[in-house]
């Protein structure tokens, strides 16, 4: 296990050498992730980790990949997607063009879920899904739209709970243990690297999805990210967070109205 002081040294080095700023990350989780990396990569001394970070840019890429959490699934929290399907998309449907931002999209499972919802609402043709993540490696996976076939049984169940009426397997082709999702979806997606800590607003959106990303930030950084979302949302646009995330403790709170029990807020100011 690394000490609190060593963690702070590592955070500083990674920032100074490579510009990745983890100083606003929640320490409890970050420390677990770094400990895990330390074990997986078989370090005995902290100084070895440090010199590898200083001398090998490729290793820092790996560090960023391992330290950020990339656990995701299609139609994660199916009842959330049911609300999007039944209450949010009918409102977005009235717009000539729909822009959605998946901030911290990881390997893209939730982006494809949204594309399926848009297609079923007959809105995909006038939608654009921007999907960003700090981690370039997961974005490469997301772009391909290829996921393990063994996950499809669970995703298909999630899809049905979310109110899906079609045969889920119509959306992908199965091959050698992989499920490849239709190019029709990928064609409506734009993937790019974006760091919520240091990068600014790049467009105006009707819906921002950022689910289970803010939990890894401390309160200050959460607040900054929420301000970024506020600046990137159209008037009456929606912000969707993870089921246990809230804007309750933030300064943008009074600019938003919570929809219902789901973690969806409408920008009202």
């Amino acid at each position: 296990m690394i000490s609190d002081r060593e963690l702070e040294v590592l955070i500083n080095e990674v920032f100074e050498y490579y510009g990745y700023d983890f100083s606003g990350y929640s320490r409890a989780s970050l420390k677990r992730r770094v400990d895990r990396l330390y074990q997986i990569d078989g370090f005995t001394y902290f100084s070895d980790l440090l010199s590898k970070v200083r001398s090998e840019p490729g290793y820092v890429k790996h560090l960023v990949e391992e330290v950020t959490v990339n656990v995701t699934e299609m139609f994660r929290d199916p009842l959330f997607y049911k609300v999007v399907r039944e209450e949010i998309l009918p409102v977005l449907a009235t717009k000539p063009f729909i822009r959605i931002w998946h901030a911290g999209c990881s390997t893209g499972e939730e982006v494809y879920s949204m594309a399926i919802l848009l297609k079923e609402a007959n809105l995909l043709h006038k939608s654009l899904l921007y999907a960003t993540d700090i981690n370039a490696i997961v974005l490469d996976t997301a772009k391909k739209g290829v996921f393990p076939l063994r996950m499809m049984k669970q995703y298909s169940e999630n899809y049905m709970i979310s109110g899906g009426k079609n045969d889920f397997s119509d959306y992908y082709t199965a091959n050698y243990g992989l499920a490849k999702f239709s190019d029709e979806f990928t064609g409506k997606m734009v993937f790019s690297q974006h760091n919520l800590v240091s990068d600014g607003s790049f467009n105006e959106f009707d819906l921002i999805m950022c689910r289970n990303v803010l939990i890894y930030f401390d309160k200050n950084l959460q607040d900054r990210a929420l301000q970024l979302f506020d600046n990137s949302l159209a008037f009456l646009g929606y912000l969707a967070l993870g089921t246990k995330e809230t804007i309750k403790f933030s300064t943008v709170q009074d600019r938003f109205q919570q929809l219902n029990r789901e973690k969806i807020w409408k920008k009202v100011k």
Binding site: S29, I215, Y216, K219, K244
Partner: protein, 194 residues
Amino acid sequence: MEEGKINVKCQVVIIGGSAGSLEVLLQLLPNLNTLNSFALVIVLHRKSGEDNLLENLIRLKTKVPVQDVDDKTPLEPGNIYIAPSDYHLLFEKDHTLSLDTSEKVNYSRPSIDVAFESAAEIYERTLVAILLSGANADGTKGLEIVKKSGGITVVQKPASAEVPFMPVNAIANMQPDYVLDINEILKFVTNINL
């Protein structure tokens, strides 16, 4: 509390359990009227996606306030906090709770080991960790770390556990400070900070 055992005030009591542990809580909680200036955190293995069922059930059984756990919820004495399904529960230095969706540990999320370890790191000697009935090895490693950090460890007496594997595994691999049956656990918790 045994004489001379604790001179430090306990800030947090954390209870971990799996199969058969809900029944223990439903016997314990109705008999607890207040918590003597500590927070009670409950980490149970539970079905993913199950919505507030456990929270509502426990609310029915106790007079102590049960707070909803969102990310960064402040941990305050006198309240009960229940780890939500599908997240690991972590403790921060500023006495807030953090959530984490990283890989399952011991096939579990929330994992008792993860929560115990994280609580031990922040609360050290002011932590009491109690491991109840269950069918897997989760919790043993966490208890060891609680003990190493100076906290007090309690394991449910296997004979009183519906599924004894979890307490048996703990007792076989570390030396808990106390091995107690359900009534003794109640007495123990009631006497904390008295």
